[in-house]
Symmetry: C2
Subunit: 239 residues, 2 copies
DNA sequence: TCTTATTGGGCTAGTGTCAGACCATTGACG
DNA sequence: CGTCAATGGTCTGACACTAGCCCAATAAGA
């Protein structure tokens, strides 16, 4: 590894694409992850949050509207309403999603997710938590445990993101969200089986227990084991 | 944590600023971290790597030239040559750097760095490594151990980034580089004492040993202990 | 000494993006 | 049934950024 290759991580592109494309991507992932339940925030507000102009945001919304993800209504109490229901996944969908993504990108994304989510759990476990924050974590766990089939992915994501957000680091929360977004299409293509949910519930419980006990080692290990399950499943398609 | 706050991580700005500002920032950090030793790559090449036009890159370079970081020479074998030597740090510099950064941002950056670097080490330890990659890691360790006072920061950074890069995840390498960049000014303001170097050398050795032994637990713990030292020092200024 | 490849310097036409203002529509509520 | 606040729809002038091209300078090597 010479000087040149040492620079690749730092001299990566300053911006991923044009503002329009990035906005479409972000909104699409927000929708697919179920992070927004009914309608998007008003355009002016959303544009401000995303740091783009209303014109650009509207172009992105129109794209999603034409693709059938949104229905836009004018007037007071109007907005961009979600018209998206995650399709019932089949095994072929998963294979197609994996192929579409590319093996290198998938491997990259899985490694990335493993690292940042384990890191977040470890840091959170090593942090003194206020009773309020401990309760938030427990609440997220309860939510995902009581989720119906349609809500499961959404609440599972919310649980995992909560771990990163509770560290108080916006940067860390950002990369964890990013890591999730990168595998969202793949996760959506995996059928949610009752057996998997029960298995995940045990692991989620272990994660929360370790964090609340202030045990970074156990927290890290629990998250690693949890993520290894889906990672192994997805990697299986790489062969 | 309601739906709105759950969105903050994913509805963050699509782009940090304009291309010019971001480019200046990136180049400045590359220079300050010592990731490039003599001169920058040719403009056309650098612009392509950063994903920006030559015009924008040239504006950024001119800014850095006027600020005294670079000297630009025309003609064949010309280029943007570094004219930057890290100043001898004083305690006041560190205090000033911490105040300038802001306590929230500093805390965020330290948490972020802890999470992603521990995550990277853990993942790398859990990955089967080719003999070549094992040797690269040992080589980086040797380099930092044999570093002179002027080279220490640079090679220390190279060692840490190598861990992330060896995972093979460009995303992970990117965020680890980013994490380093965010605390670069602060690290540069900390005097490099012989005692600290010796202490760090022991910890570096422990990190490498754990990774080569394939022990994610130990790798994570070693990195955490290593980073906790500087983190504690910097946090001391927050009081 | 001359040639030439490589590099920075500069220009232009075209596109992307923005801020801000104003218009159009809608539905709750008095 | 009218009012009005909130929201999407549209336009404009300005600026940022890009791709591509050619020029100017430089130093190694013939």
């Amino acid at each position: 590894m010479d000087e040149v290759s040492r620079l690749t991580a730092v001299l990566r592109p300053v911006r991923a694409g044009n503002a329009f494309e990035e906005t479409v991507e972000r909104l699409l992932q927000v929708i697919k992850l179920g992070l927004v339940s009914e309608k998007l925030p008003p355009e002016r507000e959303l544009a401000a949050q995303l740091g783009i102009s209303r014109v650009t945001l509207r172009e992105a919304i129109r794209e999603l509207q034409e693709a059938g993800y949104l229905e836009v209504r004018r007037g007071r109490y109007g907005g961009a309403f979600l018209t998206y229901a995650p399709p019932d996944p089949h095994r072929d969908d998963l294979r197609r999603a994996v192929v579409e993504m590319g093996t290198d990108d998938l491997s990259d994304a899985l490694t990335f997710r493993m690292a940042v989510e384990c890191g977040a759990a470890q840091v959170l476990a090593a942090t003194p938590l206020t009773p309020e924050r401990r309760e938030i974590l427990r609440e997220r766990l309860r939510e995902v445990n009581s989720a119906g089939p349609g809500d499961y992915r959404r609440l599972d994501t919310a649980f995992h993101l909560a771990i990163a957000e509770l560290t108080g680091s916006a940067l860390l929360a950002g990369v964890c969200a990013d890591a999730r977004l990168r595998v969202a299409d793949l996760l959506n293509a995996i059928p949610v089986l009752q057996r998997n949910i029960e298995h995940a519930a045990v692991q989620h419980q272990a994660i929360v227990t370790a964090i609340l006990a202030g045990d970074p080692e156990a927290a890290r290990r629990a998250v690693a084991e949890h993520l290894e399950g889906t990672a192994a499943l997805l990697r299986g398609f790489l062969a």
